[in-house]
């Protein structure tokens, strides 16, 4: 059997890598992907806790997280497309003016 | 040796099954292309393949040889990883999706390992199948993007938009069946449609399954089949390749075996979709006749014998000597098979399930080809409007109506 701690440690590592990606990447789409990575890491922890405590509540939360991620992706990518159209760049450093 | 077999049977038996299935599927794919060319040719009053072997029967072999020996050029500026990954991914996912499909009701024991007709019997097989088809879009999208060609890119873009849009309708149209059966397992869904002496009325299409309460799933079926055609990128939804607009769409820059992989994957996913239609709405391996009509058991042999005779008759008059040998040979084999089924009721009983399953799958494959010969392609905006404004609302309505019907008449 795999101890719950292993899952949690993996989750922490993935979350940390998500933060690293978020800090170091400059492409706005990749930043978004880093957020998704962090959400996934949290989901892993949710499922691990849920299984280890013998309660399915954690998995219900994972479903909610996935729904929120989907909604976020729809709106976020819409915003990204608009930004890219208006500024002709996907670099977050270029998105530094409130108004063009 | 025997001890080794019984000890590792859990590994060896599935591997043997996988090898057999992959071999069978690849052969069927090859002859599906032959059938498609023949049927479309006859729809357009042509003859179709006729040169290689009698009735062009060896054409798939010739095609295979051609695919292997063709030069495999790589265009400049491609993204190497994605360019190589795309065909492998597409083929792998297409073949994997067949793993969860049960082809017959039997369970048998090999070397002390209990197994069944089909590779894996998962209790969420329907979800597994959807998960695999959901990933299939990457093959097409990556191929389009990696090829460094604007036609390919357009094909990839179209395909990803199309697949996301139609996946919703595809998944929602099945929810009705899942609600009625109360099970995600394909085996469970089939067994649920076996309702005593009702025969084909028990199929989900007609709704008199064990707790269907007579609510027909015909809306679900139509939505499912339409969305599935879109998911497999076939006519009239073949916008990702659209040869009259985009050269060959996402696989413009692929040649030789890499192109063959896309090709095989397309036909394999056609088979998967046909199997799914059969399982979900047409009772899988169940016979359309009531159980009490035992004489229908002899239908396979009764069909095989005249077919064999006809092939022999056709063969002995064939133009070439090779045809005069090969066709009667095939005919005799079919005759022998039919005779054996009549002579040994045990074998006959065993093949009933797979026979009905394959017969239904064949009908759907034929419909696929028929559509290709009949329908014109959708325009892109028509495709989107149809998917979002018609198919999706209708499949949601089907979910609501089915739930209400189960609430009123169901026996949960």
């Amino acid at each position: 059997m795999v101890p719950t701690n292993y899952y949690l440690i993996l989750s922490a590592i993935l979350f940390g890598l998500g933060i690293v990606a978020f800090v170091f990447k400059r492409n706005i789409i990749t930043l978004f992907m880093a957020i998704e990575l962090m959400l996934n890491a949290v989901n892993l922890a949710f499922v691990a806790f849920s299984q280890s405590l013998g309660k399915p509540d954690g998995e219900v939360f994972v479903l909610f997280v996935i729904v929120v991620a989907a909604a976020e992706a729809a709106v976020g990518l819409g915003i990204i497309i608009l930004t890219a159209r208006n500024r002709h760049s996907l670099n977050v450093e270029r998105v530094n003016l409130l108004k063009l | 040796m025997n001890e080794f077999l019984t000890h590792y049977a859990f590994l060896i038996v599935p591997i043997i099954k996988i090898v057999i299935l992959v071999f069978l599927v690849l052969t069927v794919d090859a002859y599906l292309t032959w059938l498609e060319r023949k049927v479309i040719a006859h729809i357009q009053t042509r003859w179709g393949p006729y040169r290689v072997g009698p009735h062009g029967l060896l054409q798939p072999l010739a095609d295979g040889v051609k695919f292997i020996f063709k030069e495999d050029p790589m265009p400049a500026g491609v993204d190497k990883i994605a360019y190589f990954l795309a065909p492998f991914l597409t083929l792998m996912l297409a073949l994997t999706s067949l793993a969860v499909i049960p082809f017959g009701p039997q369970r048998f024991t090999v070397w002390g390992y209990e197994t069944h007709v089909g590779i894996a019997d998962v209790n969420i097989s329907l979800l597994v199948l959807f998960a695999i088809t959901a990933l299939a879009v990457y093959g097409v999208a990556l191929a389009g993007w990696a090829s460094n060609n604007k036609y390919s890119l357009l094909g990839g873009l179209r395909s990803s938009a199309q697949m996301i849009s139609y996946e919703l309708a595809l998944t929602l149209s099945v929810v009705g069946v899942v609600l009625v059966a109360g099970d995600f397992s394909l085996r469970g869904i089939i067994e649920h449609q076996e309702n005593g002496n009702l025969g084909l009325l028990g199929w989900n299409l007609f709704g008199f399954s064990k707790n269907g309460g007579g609510f027909t799933q015909i809306i679900g079926f139509i939505c499912f089949f339409t969305a599935a055609i879109a998911e497999t990128n076939r006519v009239p939804f073949d916008l990702p390749e659209a040869e009259s607009e985009l050269v060959a769409g996402f696989h413009t820059e692929y040649a030789s075996m890499k192109f063959a992989m896309f090709f095989i994957a397309e036909y394999t996913s056609m088979i998967t979709v046909s199997c799914l239609c059969t399982i979900l709405f047409f009772g899988g391996w169940l016979s359309p006749f009531p159980l009490s009509w035992t004489f229908t058991q002899f239908l396979p042999s009764v069909l095989l014998i005249p077919f064999g005779l006809w092939i022999i008759y056709d063969g002995i008059r064939y133009e070439t000597i090779f045809g005069r040998v090969l066709l009667p040979g095939i005919g005799t084999a079919l005759l022998a098979l039919g005779g054996a089924l009549l002579a040994y009721p045990a074998i006959n009983g065993y093949i009933q399930g797979p026979f009905w399953f394959l017969a239904k799958v064949f009908v759907f494959l034929f419909v696929y080809i028929w559509m290709r010969g009949t329908l014109p392609r959708f325009r892109y905006d028509q495709l989107m409007t149809f998917g979002w404004k018609f198919l999706l609302p209708v499949s949601i309505a089907n979910v609501v109506l089915t739930s209400v019907a189960i609430l009123i008449w169901g026996k949960h």
Partner: protein, 166 residues
């Protein structure tokens, strides 16, 4: 090493590899592919824990819808390789160690607090789809309805964003 443990380590290695590759790849589409690898590996881990429905949803929704949307947008905008502008020296030299330290602290805290949590049993009955849906439609029905509202708002938002001004 038992079989589940081996599977865990293989999948965990794949997931970490994917996450590292997400950071190292220059082109957004390669990053997206790496993220898909992570998600599929996580789905495998969910299966290992016996959470079959969540595993399927993970692949269908995350892998099959959200990431396809990402790939679609990358292809639509024809995003090229990432420009690495304005990288602060401090971030390079202090950022990675600090981020790793954070992950390490969390991991250490988890490792030390271990022993209280029993190992997850691959108990399919616990999280069968039926159990999950029962819970979703009874105890969690209020948040569930709220998510539908959220999706509605998201759809409206996406439509408003997509509309051209005329």
């Amino acid at each position: 090493m038992t079989a589940p443990l081996i599977i865990f380590f293989v999948l965990a290695a794949v997931a970490v590899f994917g996450a590292v590759s997400l950071i190292l790849q220059k082109h957004p589409i390669h990053s997206a592919l790496s993220l898909i690898v992570v998600m599929v590996a996580l789905a495998g881990l969910y299966l290992l824990m016996g959470a079959e429905f969540v595993a399927a949803v993970q692949i269908i929704v995350y892998g099959g819808a959200i990431m396809v949307l990402f790939v679609f947008v990358i292809m639509l905008l024809n995003a090229g390789e990432e420009e690495r502008t304005n990288l602060s020296r401090l971030a390079t030299y202090a950022g990675i160690p600090l981020a790793l330290a954070l992950a390490g602290f969390i991991a250490a805290a988890i490792a030390r607090s271990g022993g209280y949590l029993p190992a997850p049993a691959p108990n399919g009955a616990l999280t069968s789809t039926k159990t999950l849906s029962m819970l979703l439609f009874t105890e969690f029905v209020y948040p569930f309805e709220l998510t539908s509202f959220l999706i509605l708002v998201a759809i409206l938002g996406a439509i408003v964003l997509a509309q051209r001004e005329n």
